[in-house]
Structures are given as C-alpha cells and as structure tokens.
Symmetry: C2
Subunit: 215 residues, 2 copies
C-alpha cells in the first residue's frame, strides 16, 4: 500500500488552472490507479517549509513514505520505475521511455514554455528574440511530426514519456501552435482523451474552485 | 568491459567548440574512468542514420552494447545508475541526484539556453520577450545561489547532476550572467576545476581542431 501525498498550491488565479504541473503527477497516479492524498501549501507567501521541499518555490512535489521528490520529471520517473503501467520493463522499451521523457522536457519544452509565455503575456512581437524561440519551436515540432506520424505512443506502449510530451504539446496547442502539425495535434487529442487525464484535470479544477469559496 | 561509443559531429564552427553537448558525456565517462570510443557523423548534411539515433538531428548519442541512447540527460542517468562514481547508491542520495539532474535541465537550462542564445546572436535587446527570459533566469539563479551557498555538490557527493548543472551555469557565466551570483560562480569554478572536465574539454577541442586540417 503506497503512502503517496501530492503537494500543490492551495489556490492559483484562473488562467493557469488546468495547466498547473501537479496535473502531470495526478495523471500518472490515475493511470496506475495508485491511491494518493493531495495536500495544499500557500500560493502566497511561500514559506521555508515549501523551499525545503521545492528549492524554486514551485509545485508539485510528491512524498512517497519518507522520500520527498521535486521536479515533475523526477517524480514521473520515480513512479515509472515502480509501476509497469507507466513504463515498459524490458531494457529497450525502458530506454526509449527515458529518452523521450528527457526529450519532452529538455528538447521540446525548452522552446515551448517561453513561446507559450510570450503568447500568454502578449509579448509575441516581431523582435529577434521572439523569432529565435518561434523558429526553435517550429524546428522541434517538424521533427516531432515525423516521429508521431509513425507511432501511437513514444515508447511502444503508453508511458510517463507520453504524459510529459502530451502535456508540453497541449499548451502549445492551446495557443494555436500545432496548426501545421496534424500528427502532433492528433497525438495530444489521443493522450488527453484518456480517462486518467480527464480525471486528473477535473480534480485539479475542482481543487482550485473549492479554494475560491473559502477566500 | 563496457562497449561504449560516443557519437558527435565530425566538425562544428569555432564558437560552440568547448560547449557541444558531447562534453557532458565525455566528462561523465572520464569521471568514472570508463573506456570509450568516439565516432563522428556529418555536421552537414545530417543523414537518415543520424535521425534514426537522434530524432532531432542533434548530438550526442551513446551506444552501450546494442543499446543506443539519445538526450544528454538520459545518457548521464544511464551511466549514473551503473557507476557509483557518478551517482550515490543509497535511496536518499540517489533521489537527490535525480531531482537535481532534472532541475538542471528543466528548471535552470530552460531559461539559460534562450538567454545565452539572445546574448550570442546579439538579440539581447529591450523587448518584452528578452525581459521575460532575463527575469526568469534571474529568479532561478537567486534560488540556486541559496542552495549552492550551503553545499559543495548538489547530492552529497559529486554526481551527474553536478555535471549537468555546472555545464548549464558555465554557459551563463561565459556571457557574464553570474556576476551577482558568487556561490554559483564558485560552484562552476569548482566543477570545471576537476581533471575529468579538463580532459573532456581538451578532447572535444582536439576532435574539432583535427577536423579543420582535413577540410
């Protein structure tokens, strides 16, 4: 019986709801049908206990017994290595899941996150910096399009790599960044069409909505 | 006896020399004193074999027997999990190394790489996009400064997490981005002062310099 507690903010403003990174962990936990509790920490101010568990003052972190884990990539890898529903167990499949887990965060999210923030904050102008990030993302999407046109999931079967890649790409899709990448778009629809994603998203929305009532 | 081959470009222009990501892998291999070979693939054009091993057309990738691994994070984790010189073996130390390995790539390099490219390409202007990335990086450095003021290495002893974090931060340092972060700067000096880094860097420089002679 696992003793898993997911830590997230007690409240966030409307715009990031449905996109806070605790969703990645909820999604993985739902896919593996692992029982877990959700605990809240103040959005503002962030206290020293928070920084002791997450040195950047971000969320999520997960406790598994007396182990406390931050970084969504590290948490999903931790869960993946313990649950065959979340990662292939043969050496080749496991290696493929590891490669794509890092690719999602370090090759695709690296341009995708600033690109999204430029869109969100209205700073997506004609400046050279915006053009650099836009070209960087388009190049990555071109290669992902080739990969995703040929496979349903990144590592043979659905894995934590897909949770991360789909979560990275769906934010791009939200700002119409996948219009020229039909295979990427179909992949996002396929991944977010899974019942575990719907449950994770609904739970996150309900968590923050409940907080509105007590403010 | 491991059968390790590191794949990198046959040649790159002058500016990125000393910073091509095969250095991360060379550094880890030198730290663990693992024998390995270096193989070259064309910088231009990149062929289908290249994309079969590295779907973004980047370097490095590593073959370990019949396993081929791309993404520097995945390669370093692969090596770390097999070599106690590269990662603590106790659950707590290993967890800490994993957290910081992901933090280097997904929390710090995410703003550091675009920031560096804006500096390098001369597009570090007063635009809102540049300001967003600059503020993003400064916030991360503020938290890293607190962490690094209190410890020599990120996970108790030197690990692959330090290779990645130091490699990310030294590029920022190259463009004078650590002037207000003395603990980060001292950490970069400490890490890059290790003989394994010096050997890895010298080998990369020699590899590309040798290619100049045959062009």
């Amino acid at each position: 019986m696992p003793d898993l507690t997911l830590f997230t903010f007690d409240w966030v403003p409307e715009p990031p709801r449905g996109f806070v990174r605790d969703l990645r962990v909820r999604w993985a936990l739902e896919e593996a049908a692992l029982p877990y509790r959700v605990a809240s920490v103040p959005f503002n101010p962030r206290d020293t206990t928070h920084f002791a568990h997450q040195p950047f003052g971000q969320v999520p972190w997960l406790t598994d017994g007396d182990l406390s884990i931050f970084e969504s990539g590290a948490i999903l890898l931790h869960l993946g290595q313990r649950n065959p529903e979340l990662m292939p167990t043969d050496p080749r499949g496991r290696n493929e899941a590891m490669e794509w887990l890092f690719a999602a965060l370090n090759s695709v999210e690296m341009p995708a996150l600033p690109w999204t923030m430029f869109k969100f904050t209205g700073s997506f102008d004609g400046s050279p910096a915006v053009k650099f990030v836009d070209d960087f993302l388009k190049l990555r999407l071109k290669h992902m399009e080739t990969v995703l046109a040929e496979r349903e999931w990144l590592a043979g079967s659905f894995s934590v790599a897909d949770i991360l890649m789909a979560d990275v790409l769906r934010v791009v899709d939200r700002f119409e960044g996948l219009t020229d990448s039909p295979a990427c778009r179909a992949y996002v629809a396929r991944a977010t069409g899974r019942p575990a994603f719907a449950k994770a998203r609904a739970d996150q929305m309900a968590h923050f909505a409940a907080a509105d009532k007590t403010r």
